[in-house]
Subunit: 362 residues, 2 copies
């Protein structure tokens, strides 16, 4: 199957000088035979960058845009003027079927706003969510956490939708059979937490053929207790940034302690391959490629501060989502839930009618 | 100054066999000359444990209680029957002035409920909060994060009270001059976050002589950007457990990578002192001793799963709070805020009266 990706060539802190090498790297690593790219942005700059990217040059087309959405463009401004921009046109290519997915490392707010307007949400989804993929020691080696911050305040129904989208993401993109899903709370006991998580818990436990684990705690994220961890965007954003900060804290502490004595320095040199392995597993770049889940098309968001390796991984995520028919997977799941809820409603109505009938007879 | 502590001798997963050695250890480490202990619980068990704790034996008194609050006692049950229990009587000793502070590693829910009933909250505090002390690479080497989970849903006023209590804790217990205070949010820009943090931000920025830093993010906790980080109990609990889980993840990963090759093993042996230092700094036991902030007396909560070292540190926290007149410090701070708010109200009323007067004249 041939896959075409629309790439925002100007996005991210490093812009075209990161995006083009990153896409070239993705091409080198991919198993997909017929991969093609549409590159949106400033044509002269893209041309120069392509000189060092022969593989990409051979399978890409440049679409010049005069308007450029940068890290500083406000979402509202991006929506108003952005359809003629690098980002807007890349998104439109997906909507109009010229590409299978769009990838950008640009401004999250502008990207999300434009994607919502141009790509629309799936039936049964109120708000898109952004998942993050975290490494774990146990379980399947990774946990998908959502929402990462797209939705600051969430209702129980939002959390249920996140759970279904996260499950589809885990099974389609990471090939996990019947992924387990946990709802993040301050304790694993059923009585804990506020009304929102309590209500979501009751809905999730009653979904057919759904591997709901129940409540999980902050420690469970990196332990890999479940394949998917669901939470609101406020707590999710704070938890994931706290994890990022802790990884940095431990790394800095290790560095400081190792370099402050000759024994530390020597031990480090000898064990360097082991340290490199630790660095590799805990390296956020390998888990790069957040997705706007819940849209009618595939839009992948690479971290703005990433390098070529990170961007290549974001492209890998987009390709997996295309090849696994991710959108169909989520849509089917949502339809099943809707049918089940309608069925429950019918049954409740029937039961109520029977009671009324009995009362009339009596 | 002589300090007397009321100790729940039965609390924690390991009970008396952890509490007594922990208290003995605290005595060995302390600089305080005249430290005395009241030990509440099962007298025969305490007597046996004291055989191996000669220092403690010489400066403690045992108060036998037939009723024992365990890890499984429900808070409501503890409150009903608990005033004759190990925990209830230890708390009452503080309320009645026989001890300066109470320390327990017991059941958090029961301890919090009994403390609220028996010790009451300070004027101007609606709900007590639990802070955690985290190690950091920068700043003053530690950050105080609150609330850790006592309050699942928080209003803006709750957050403001947490900020004032956290500031008093940082300055009195950790001797930090004019501690900086940050409000946890999904971004550091002023426009981010829900209504609760927005409103708290506006109140905090207007408090006189208060070192308010503004919004901070999850990454700032372990970076030590501010001395105090304020958040609601839901996000705070999740963030702190996520940090705990990440530390464990990195430790397990290091262990796995180091032990899977001879170079790793050798390097580890040579650099062991450096690894030990890393372990020591990131060891949660050294930061043990959560406090119920906002009560009229000092109540310190040691982690239920801690060992003697952790319990000794909790005792150290209690002693610091007594010696630094922590309660007076918080109370003064709260009075200043109340005066300032009353002053603002008066000024607003005066301004309104002047407007009315002008309108009448016109």
């Amino acid at each position: 199957m041939s896959v075409t990706l629309a790439i925002d060539a100007m996005g991210g802190d490093l812009g075209v000088s990161m995006v083009i090498p990153g896409t070239e790297l993705a091409l080198k690593k991919t198993q997909v035979k017929d991969l093609r790219f549409l590159l949106y942005g400033d044509a002269p700059a893209i041309h120069i960058a392509l000189e060092d990217a022969p593989l990409l040059k051979a399978c890409s087309e440049i679409i010049h845009t005069d308007v450029i959405v940068t890290n500083y463009t406000k979402p509202a401004v991006a929506v108003r003027s952005g359809r003629k921009s690098n980002l807007g046109m890349a998104i439109e290519a997906v909507r109009d079927g010229r590409a299978h997915a769009v990838v950008s490392a640009g401004n999250t707010g502008a990207y999300m706003a434009l994607s919502k307007v141009l790509l629309k949400t799936l039936d049964g989804i109120n708000r898109p969510a952004i998942p993050a993929v975290m490494p774990t020691t146990n379980g399947h080696g990774r946990t998908i956490v959502l929402d990462l911050g797209a939705n600051i305040e969430c209702s129980a129904i939002n959390l249920v939708q996140f759970a279904l989208m996260g499950e589809a993401f885990a099974s389609r993109v990471f090939n996990i059979n019947r992924p387990t899903v946990g709802l993040l709370n301050v304790g694993s006991e059923e009585v804990k937490g506020h009304a929102g998580v309590q209500e979501a818990f009751q809905i999730l436990r009653n979904i057919d053929d759904f591997n709901f684990h129940g409540f999980v705690e902050g420690t469970d994220i990196m332990a890999g207790t479940t394949d998917v961890v669901v939470t609101d965007g406020f707590s999710g954003n704070i938890a994931l940034k706290a994890i990022e900060g802790t990884t940095r804290f431990v790394r800095d502490l290790l560095q400081k302690c190792m370099s402050s004595s000759w024994r530390g320095k020597l031990g480090y040199l000898i064990a360097k391959p082991a340290f490199d392995r630790v660095k590799q597993v805990s390296d956020a770049r390998h888990y790069n490629g957040a997705v706007f889940l819940g849209l009618r098309h595939i839009a992948v968001k690479s971290h703005g501060g990433t390098d070529a390796i990170g961007f290549a991984n974001a492209i890998g995520v987009a390709v997996s989502m295309v090849q696994s028919n991710f959108i169909d997977g989520v849509q089917n799941r949502l339809r099943l839930l809707q049918n089940q809820q309608e069925q429950n409603k019918l049954e409740q109505e029937r039961a109520a009618a029977e009671i009324r009938l009995t009362e009339t007879v009596v």
